[in-house]
């Protein structure tokens, strides 16, 4: 919500996720710092699967409840929000565009940069897709990379862009679900970006890092190389898959499996006690059941290892591991399962850091909530966007204004 109160702003962000809808409200102070006021939540109740809305009305209800909860907690009236986007339909690409510098002295001007941006619009993507995000990674002049191309002389100007495109209809669904509640969407970003904003500092971005946000429905990840985003990805496998595997393998109902995972979930069983059993919560009219701890671990580890393997392989295929000088940072609700540090260290070739605690200003009850990584990251992102919006500069200018995006989707 952009609502002025003593020259402070309140920013509201909404994360429509598989297990819950979370709404975070923060106060943007005049000095640019952000203070968290509160987070409202509501269970998604099956409306969202793998990060995408499958039941529109139910999703709207959940969003409404979450917004109400947030308004309650923060005593703010919410009108404007930032959204996050995720989903397996999102495809990342790195593309390289080129233009000729035809001015006198071959001086590069702002216009040339703009021309490259325009060329991006011509880039061929599937007709049902929309480019929902693009950012310049690096500019190149004749004599190599350049951080500040404007004013320099060169015959040609090239740029690499990291773009993400996705199914238009999925995006429309998401936006409509919020807009039909009379909430205005200011802007949006990718979940992986959001998480990275929360978890990395500029030094770590420069070193190079992989950020993995393990959610209930999807696992988002993002790679920073030398301070710019080199790659993003979404894997439609999340904490729910672990629960489902357990439910299927141990013959439990989903809810029981979920409780089991939360209370006793461990990716490694105790080798000294191979026959250790875990007694499950007794249910009404059912016999008491127990399962082998080893079985729990085996099933869960198989799934989580596979998920991490897929991410590692993706980076391998793109030759990114060599460029990451730093670590893997893992956060998200599903990263809370015991044993993850050890497993991740086995899978990834660089050091691993689990991020279960965030440094926030403001309401500290949420600082140890890795399951809120996305929404809190989104808040951080919104903070930056808000600042940049006022002072457009640098490479994080977005290619098209949000209005244009909406217009192309015929929502506006």
């Amino acid at each position: 919500m952009i609502w002025k109160k003593k020259e402070s702003y309140a920013l509201t962000v909404v994360d429509v996720g598989t297990s819950k809808v979370a709404v975070a409200v923060g106060e943007l102070k005049p000095d640019g710092s952000l203070v968290l006021l509160g987070v409202g939540q509501a269970e998604s109740g099956g409306a969202v699967r793998k990060g995408e809305i499958v039941d529109f009305e139910l999703a709207q209800q959940a969003i409404q409840l979450a917004l109400a909860d947030a308004e309650d907690k923060t005593e703010c009236m919410i009108e404007y929000v930032y959204l996050n986007l995720t989903g397996a339909h999102l495809e990342p690409k790195v593309i390289r565009l080129k233009t000729v510098i035809d001015t006198e002295d071959n001086r590069v001007t702002q216009e040339h940069l703009g021309r490259l941006d325009e060329e991006l619009e011509n880039y061929a993507i599937p007709s049902e897709h929309e480019i929902i995000h693009s950012a310049v990674q690096q500019y190149y002049l004749d004599n190599g990379m350049s951080c500040k191309p404007i004013g320099q002389s060169s015959e040609t100007l090239e740029a690499t862009y990291h773009i993400v495109h996705g199914l238009r209809t999925r995006l429309e669904t998401l936006f409509r679900s919020v807009m039909e509640l009379n909430i205005k969407v200011v802007h949006y970003t990718l979940s992986s970006y959001a998480a990275a904003e929360l978890v990395l500092n500029p030094q770590q971005k420069k070193e190079g890092a992989l950020v993995v946000d393990m959610g209930a429905g999807v696992t988002d990840y993002l790679v920073y190389v030398d301070g710019t985003v080199a790659h993003t990805g979404v894997l439609a496998v999340g904490g729910e898959h672990v629960t489902q595997d357990l439910a299927f393998g141990l013959k439990l109902p989903f809810r029981s499996a979920e409780l089991l995972k939360i209370n006793h979930g461990n990716l490694y069983a105790n080798p000294d006690r191979p026959n250790e059993r875990i007694v499950l919560e007794k249910e009404v009219n059912a016999d008491e059941r127990s399962i082998f701890a080893e079985s729990l671990s085996r099933i869960a580890q198989a799934r989580v290892r596979e998920t991490l393997d897929l991410i590692r392989e993706d980076l391998e295929a793109r030759g990114l591991w060599e460029q990451i000088g730093g670590s893997v940072h893992i956060t998200g609700g599903a990263s809370q399962i015991r044993g993850l540090q050890r497993l991740a260290e086995e899978v990834f070739p660089v050091p691993v850091r689990l991020v279960h605690e965030f440094s926030l200003e403001g309401d500290q009850t949420y600082s140890r909530r890795p399951d809120l990584s996305t929404v809190l990251g989104l808040l951080r992102y919104a903070q930056q966007y808000d600042q940049l919006h006022a002072r457009p500069s640098g490479f994080d200018r977005l290619r098209r204004s949000f209005q244009e995006v909406l217009a192309s989707m015929r929502l506006f």
Binding site: Y268, P271, I299, A302, R305
Partner: protein, 458 residues
């Protein structure tokens, strides 16, 4: 009418179930196969013989037989001329039709390269097709040394047959030469071959007739062969191996026997093979667990990783014996290199009858047989150790299985494969409304432990 199972096991088809599902021998080679079959087994229903040679017809022990071209050829055969044979059949079409009336499926066994078999096969297939019969042809092709003419005739015949039959298996006599002791008694050699072909036909037929879990459907076979068919008139597109065993170790023994089957001695089989059809035959005592062990052991022991299409058939007279027949399909002379190092967990395809979810009481026993599999081979010797792992090994939870052949007393393991066909689609549950997540041919919504065939203790 739904017949209720008495106890455990599956119901073996009665001989009467086989009426309408014929095995037809064409030409002397085909008739010999059928003879061998009758001599080996006590009762084999629905066998038919057709030939132009009177001596063959007179000598055969098969009940239903017909001499073709008695008038024209005077019972002397067509002298290796397929054209003549074809003519004869066309002339006597109505008689042949009358004999074949009422069939639903047919397995045609014939030898190609000569006259009768090559010439008649095509006509027969066509007649059967007109009658709406599903036709599988098992053709025996000539030795390499039989000369260009016979080979050429065989090839033409194969091409023609392929156009009309539902499925064609070509087994080459040359295999015999590659058997150890190929300088053995000629009759022995041939009878081995005949026996093999005969078994193959029996199993194929049982596959078609029988309804029940682990059934391999004709369409599956067809897809399997078609997938790897180069479309040429190859004279060899399958290799057959057979083994039988009884006793406590029968699950393992039968696999050992099959793989040491003389026709598999030739390394080319495995280098050219593209897929494997495993048909396990057993009496009423055959349990799911046993089937599972057989297939797993097979997969372990096969020299090359190949996809396996597996199923069970119940043959009426098997008693305690377990029989496994292995068809390796492929193309001889295929160029592709076979990957030699074994990779973990190939796909195992289990076909369940009840794809529409309907399971009749006849198909499934009330509860799966209590007997636990005699040996569960894929057991980690020290589960505790394997889980924690040495730090040096990286603590792989499901690292390479120990190759030692130590037995482990069977524990009650969650048998994913049993569950697989019963709840094949259930894992979607939570993800039913969303798009499936496919990655490199795997459905990631399916539990990982299932795809990796991990055993889970309950």
């Amino acid at each position: 009418m739904i017949e209720f199972m008495k106890q455990g096991g599956f119901k073996a088809p009665e001989p009467s179930d086989y009426s309408g599902h014929a095995i037809i021998g064409l030409g002397s080679a085909g008739v010999n196969v059928l003879d061998q079959l009758v001599l080996d087994q006590r009762q084999v229903p629905s066998l038919y013989c057709f030939d132009t040679d009177e001596q063959t017809i007179r000598g055969t022990v098969v009940a239903e037989k017909m001499l073709l071209g008695a008038r024209q050829l005077r019972g002397l055969g067509c002298g290796g001329d397929p054209g003549v044979a074809g003519e004869i059949v066309r002339e006597e079409r109505s008689d042949v039709r009358a004999m074949l009336q009422g069939m639903r499926t047919a397995i045609l066994v014939t030898g190609l390269g000569g006259g009768t078999g090559s010439g008649m096969a095509r006509e027969f297939v066509q007649i059967l097709q007109e009658l709406g019969v599903a036709v599988i042809v098992v053709a025996v092709t000539p030795f390499d040394f039989e000369g260009k003419r016979r080979l050429g005739q065989a090839q033409n015949a194969v091409m023609e047959i392929k156009q009309h039959a539902d499925l064609v298996f070509c087994v080459s006599n040359s295999r015999l030469l590659h058997m150890p002791g190929h300088d053995m008694d000629i009759r022995q050699g041939f009878s081995t071959m005949n026996r093999l072909i005969g078994r193959m036909c029996m199993n194929l037929r049982a596959m078609l007739v029988q309804r029940g879990p682990m059934q391999i459907q004709l369409s599956d076979l067809r897809n399997l062969v078609a997938e790897h068919d180069c479309g040429q008139a190859a004279l060899e597109n399958c290799w057959v191996g057979f083994g039988e065993a009884e006793g406590q170790e029968r699950a393992r023994d039968v696999v050992d026997e099959v793989l040491s089957s003389p026709l598999f001695e030739d390394g080319r089989v495995w280098s050219n093979g593209t897929a494997v059809v495993a048909s396990l035959a057993g009496g009423a005592g055959l349990s799911m667990g046993e089937f599972q062990s057989v297939i797993e052991y097979l997969r372990q022991e096969m020299p090359v990783e190949l996809p396996i299409l597996a199923g069970t058939v119940l043959l009426p007279d098997d008693g305690d014996r377990l029989r496994l027949i292995l068809l390796v399909t492929g193309q001889s002379g295929a160029e592709e290199a076979r990957p030699s190092p074994k990779k973990p967990a190939q796909e195992l395809s289990f076909e369940s009858v009840a794809d529409d979810g309907q399971v009749t009481a006849q198909d499934y026993p009330d509860e799966l047989p209590e007997e636990t599999p005699a040996e569960v081979r894929k057991v980690q010797a020290e589960p505790a150790g394997a889980i924690a792992g040495d730090p040096g090994e990286g603590g792989e939870l499901f690292s390479e299985l120990p190759q030692t052949k130590q037995r482990k007393t069977a524990q009650k393991y969650f048998n994913q494969q049993e569950e697989l066909q019963l709840e094949k689609k259930d894992y979607r549950g939570r993800f039913a409304k969303s798009d499936p997540t496919f990655f490199k041919g795997q459905d990631l919504d399916q539990p990982t432990f299932m795809r990796l065939n991990l055993k889970i203790r309950l």
